[in-house]
Symmetry: C3
Subunit: 289 residues, 3 copies
């Protein structure tokens, strides 16, 4: 394990996660400045967090939050794919965050995403891997931007979105690489519900405490039966992960990523409106031209 | 069969169902005071009703209603599980209401639930087994409360809700054991539509008559093709039914049921707000403590 | 191929489709007066259009529109089933529009339906076969009317609607043969979104251009992965197509079609309110009596 617990029951410290615990509910606040990119450090800490939480039999529910009001998880750091994949392998034996996220879905832990700010790419796929997703009406933004570079979502997005949204809406959101606000994300089934930011925290805490108060054997049983129907086979996650990697390694993808970087891709300020950045033709050219 | 028809075409009398017929449409009004619990009598009558209706070739559509404005079907009588299961076996050969409900879904009869009041647990599962569900905006309340005791829904709720609501919302409603009003139930896909109580009856009657006027061979064909895609295999219903029974037989479940009974579980008045009863910690303890 | 291109890149002319092209996006406007019935001519032209579009490597997205504000595609011409099926066979080798439509779903081309007016029966099934569907709030109307005659939808409607709407809503819309407006079609998941007619065209064009600007290899990959989950097997489309034909050939169906024709079925004016025509009992009789 990648953390040290000095006293029994003590909460380990993580570089990119602020973790606290209230009874059977854990809260993990993502804090990976400047924009909560999913890089090796955050993956390492997520792996450690899951190991710690699963090892603690009294912990039933994990709530994920963000310390950055504009970014929950922006997306993967495309310059460090190999590194973060190696971190993921420390939990699952597979160098893939698809496999890490699927582990969370299959875990005995109940996971709830409390979403403020942007969740794009692997950020969206992380919250899709959580058991439930509640988002702030005013600030949450959802996107799978991979196809702007010619890749498919590689960490479960295809699997979850197709099942949740249906064929037409899944094709729309993945082919368009557009931003979707919380209201539309709710209508499409991307999230459970959109709530006013002012009530989101209390709602999630109350729900988490309620669930945590019910028998843990039941959590396992309910998750097993629902996952048996709705969680895609591990091989489909693997295949998507491989296709994502292959897609990004093509010269066309590399050239489009370079063009996007020139426009500010992977910077906090420019990604506030990533959808426009990816699709903009106002300067007479697209990413691909 | 568990009813007697003295004259050809005459409608049998049931202890807990008020049945009338208008042309090719039958109406069954559930009346099992004090709170429409699903016990042996109501299961016995549902079995008889289905036998009678299926035997009558001129009957095409069955509408289910409630005589109690506050309860459609509250849930199973947890003190009489063995007894009501034996009644269900008289239709399907299997001592399980999951099997009874699935029989209704697969029947040549078109079934429509007109929901006013509470449908919780097996009540929710009964309306999910119907081919369509329309609910009164003002009064209908939906819940799968089983996990408050550590059990999964055992009469098809996991199968239907996961397919209708998707993984995230199905996990939410089943793990939380919360009450959902008709508006949210519609948004989640639990029901077809929520309608004002003042127009619900006319809407359902008109829809039932319209459908009943179309060819009965078509009803069978449509239901077969849609069920082939969306109705879970009988074995999955059986497995859920077994898990429900196993879950409720644990000492933890028994202790939580006892604690709930002390708070008024299975009484008409206290179950008006069952969600609170199950999750309340205001007296310093939960059902489990 | 059933069209002639005189110069490289020139757009062929079609009797029932007005086709134009803007960069990587093609626009096909359905114009088959008096009511955009799907007969042999329109099927022939759709086959040719797909062949032309798929052969042109620079074309990425096809947008389908209607020249008739009241009818997008009304439904098949029930008097010419054999003929239009033979036209469909020229693309797929199978005498079935189910197979033609499924070809479009599986195509490398991204297809978007921009729906104004009525889409019933095979019209609905055509837009369901498109990758995305956006409809005018004021004018779009959706229906699968087949069961009014005792047939199932035969061109993919059962497959798509059951997966998109879920069991209850799919049973409702198919068993009722009712009209659904765009707002309800959106709530049910029949379409991606309903938009005001005044903004629909710009929205669709902008989305089409955005998608067309992304790498074409990615379109193929995304569609393959999403179709692997959500597009029903060809055999299920074939079976539905056969059942549709069998259903319509029964004496009961023929008699009901005759009765509907007497009420104006397959005429522009009377089909403005087809749902009423099919279900009306105000003259003391239904189609079946």
């Amino acid at each position: 394990m990648h953390f040290t617990i000095t006293k029994a029951g003590e909460i380990p410290r993580f570089e990119t996660l602020g973790v606290r615990r209230e009874g059977a509910v854990g809260f993990a606040r993502i804090a990976a400045p400047p924009m909560n990119l999913l890089g090796p450090e955050l993956v390492r800490d997520l792996v450690s967090l899951i190991q710690w939480a699963e090892a603690d039999d009294a912990l039933q529910v994990m709530v994920f939050q963000s310390a950055d009001p504009d970014y929950f998880i922006s997306h993967v750091d495309v310059t460090r794919i190999k590194e973060y994949r190696e971190e993921a392998a420390k939990l699952t034996g597979e160098a893939s965050i698809a496999s890490l996220f699927r582990h969370l879905s299959a875990s005995r832990l109940v996971s709830i995403a409390q979403i403020e700010g942007r969740v794009r790419g692997a950020g969206s796929e992380f919250v899709l891997a959580c058991d439930m997703r509640f988002a702030a009406l005013e600030s949450a933004i959802f996107s799978q931007p991979e196809q702007a570079f010619g890749a498919i979502p590689g960490a479960g997005g295809v699997q979850h979105l197709t099942r949740l949204l249906g064929r037409g809406r899944a094709l729309e959101v993945i082919l368009s690489a557009e931003d979707y606000d919380a209201e539309l994300a709710e209508r499409y089934g991307w999230i459970n519900r959109a709530l006013p930011a002012s009530s989101l925290g209390d709602f999630v805490r109350s729900l988490a405490e309620r669930i945590a108060g019910f028998p843990k054997a039941g959590h396992v049983s309910v998750k097993e039966r629902i996952n048996a129907i709705s969680l895609a086979p591990a091989d489909d996650f693997r295949r998507d992960s491989d296709l994502f990697g292959e897609g990004l390694r093509t010269p066309e993808a590399q050239s489009r990523i370079d063009a996007a970087v020139k426009r500010g891709f992977q910077t906090r300020e420019s990604e506030m409106d990533l959808a426009r950045l990816l699709g903009d033709r106002s300067d007479g050219r697209t990413l691909g031209s």
